[in-house]
Amino acid sequence: MKLNLRIWRQKNAEDGGRMDNYELEDISADASFLEMLDVLNESLIERSEEPVAFDHDCREGICGTCSLVINGVPHGPRRATTTCQLHMREFKDGDTITIEPFRAAAFPVLRDLCVDRGAFDRILQQGGFVSVNTGGAQDANALPIAKVEADTAFDAAACIGCGACVAACPNAAAMLFVAAKVGHLAHLPQGEPEREQRVVSMVHAMDEEGFGSCRNYYECEAACPKEISVDFIAEMNRGYRQSVSKGVSA
């Protein structure tokens, strides 16, 4: 297939950036979206132009490295699918495709389509864990956990930390990301002792990083490649208010 690509180019964090146009021919419908970009980059290098920088690693939808806003939608048009698992059969011959980085004040652009998502790590460092040292654990089956609770915890824990929720939100809020980690641990007895402190500390860290406020647009859920439910946001809000009303502070 033949494609017209409009791609965000930005040399580094200081550069203002611009959209550039590229034409590409002979793309197989079976190629993945990132393989299509590989083909573009090889042709750019052969023409002595600089290739488009984009983040990617596992290319099987689990590492959360790939990003891209494709025609205005984080990870592109296919529901519950990361960019690396998106295939060109989702597009038509002759399409114009607009490709931009995940945009948010808390995700500064490093180059072209690559952004810095370090804010996510820093939020998790403020409570996204169970405080247990190696070696002190009891026998794993000494703590039975109802299957339905374990499954709910898993649904939240499936988050890959890609940041599509932030990119999709008109306010660039990180609520779904934070709620996923809070919810994962809130549904397990292991997370109970630190539950109140965790939610307050992580919400505080999220605000400090400059993410926006949640207005229940639910764009995050629609964009999430792992289909994490906004129910976890409601649970987090309740947990946060209960904890704060008890006097817990960050």
Binding site: G64, R111, T134, A153
Partner: protein, 637 residues
Amino acid sequence: MNLDPNIPDGPIQDKWDLHRFQMKLVNPANKRKFRVIIVGSGLAGGSAAATLAELGYDVDCFCYQDSARRAHSIAAQGGINAAKNYQNDGDSVWRLFYDTVKGGDFRSREANVYRLSQVSANIIDQCVAQGVPFAREYGGQLANRSFGGAQVSRTFYARGQTGQQLLLGCYAALNRQIGLGKVRMHTRKEMLDVVVADGNARGIVTRDLVTGKIESHAAHAVVLATGGYANVFFLSTNAMGCNVTATWRAHKRGAGFANPCYTQIHPTCIPVHGDFQSKLTLMSESLRNDGRVWVPSKPGETRGPAEIPDAERDYYLERKYPSFGNLAPRDIASRSAKEACDDGKGVGHGGRGVYLDFRDAIARVGEDAVRERYGNLFDMYERITDENPYKVPMRIYPAPHYTMGGLWVDYNLQSTVPGLHVIGEANFSDHGANRLGASALMQGLADGYFVLPYTIGHYFATQKPGDIDTDHPDFKRVEADVHARLNKLISIGGARTVDHFHRELGRLMWDKCGMARNAAGLEEALVRIPELREEFWSDVRIPGGDTEFNMELEKAGRVADFLEFGETMCRDALTRDESCGGHFREEHQTPDGEAVRDDANFAHAAVWEHNGPDAEPTRHVEPLSYENVELAIRSYK
């Protein structure tokens, strides 16, 4: 080269306990005065970094990814083994040990494997305590399944995302230590060399992948947890960034490289479908619990799978290996698929594929039960191939997936360079010539949580705590080497892309040093690789400079190392004149195509010593003795 494995005395059951008692301890007040560098943040590196920080050491952890959570351990699907015997089906530490030694085709080190089996149960306890959401039964107990190469159900799993959940567990433990200020995490920083000063590993030189800045970091010990080298084949199931650079550069600074020819070709991957292909996708071999593998009996079959009656299908694994059937170990299942395709019975693009069919499982337990077990894998398959595996059989073909070879380490996980420790897939010791399913996660976490934190203390006890810096002239020398190499890459200004060379190397390695090898092919590769390396260094084109975010430059450095490493890999495959595990030499097989080992001449680990850029490396051996497991012909019939 000193290859004393330092295996403790005593019966195998007591070795680790005795050793832990005999090892020297570091005074708790002194621990913070010891600095340790950990390269890699996957299951091995992440768990080691967290645990060493908990113990009080001063830790720096590096990864090339933008977050520690993205290390490729995350992509492991199927599960993690542990000798818990929760299913009461006859499992034990001894059985896991035996299965692993046998599965490795009697080419691993007994004492290490026994220790791995011993600590396997602790790993599950630890992960559950961290909140890893393993699959559970309705009664609240942990669920298990069986996995390739085992007849007991000892595999713990978290849907098809076990690696992800285990990694997020250890990433959480790591985050806790980062938040406490006990670990300094360095993301998007790639290690480009090791600094060995006065005979000990004293630090590393890194490149900041965003700014291009070259930096030296000093420590009392360096730990490499940098994974395997399957990307030498270009197409593999590894992440795009996985590379041999850290271990290869360490090798060039004196660390012995053991058994580089041992590579695992995983049987259940989605077949290649075009020239543009950048990577191969694995589907968990847990699919083989319910899927049946078959090809049409007749070569050149043109009918679709639904039109081929059972009598004209060859369920070749069930036919050849009646007791293990579709659960035969990976090397055997992969080779059988290749044989079927070589016989012209392959299906799909280029005839390089076999069917993995769920028709009978769906008839037996229903589509919903199959969806519950494998739903995410079926979705992934459908996304990539545009075919619905509930309706038509999957097509699969083997792909490079894991590498059993790696830097040689002793029982303490220390390489031949004092102070340089190697853990996880990056070392060589536990899986022999073939790794069993669900054992990689086990080994990575065993090394990081339960082995290295003890053994590295024994090394520190021989060192002086306190100040250490990058002023040593060896740091300056290594930094200068790193700069010179980057400048050279940038200045070539040739005509071809990095991927062009990587693809060509990959094709060569797959053809000559892939699932089956022979002397003539390996000798050809040994001629062609140096030529290709020469072409690379005179004709590669890398746009941009070295003081900016430059992904082509990153790739170029890694491919340059693969172009050196590939040669040693082929040399190792040529000199190991026997078949064992994943290393199948066509000259050494039974009439029905099974591997034939040569224990009299090759019951050893081959360890390569680098002798400089223009000299052939030296092959050393560590003899492997089997005192607890009888060397036998590995049969799964």
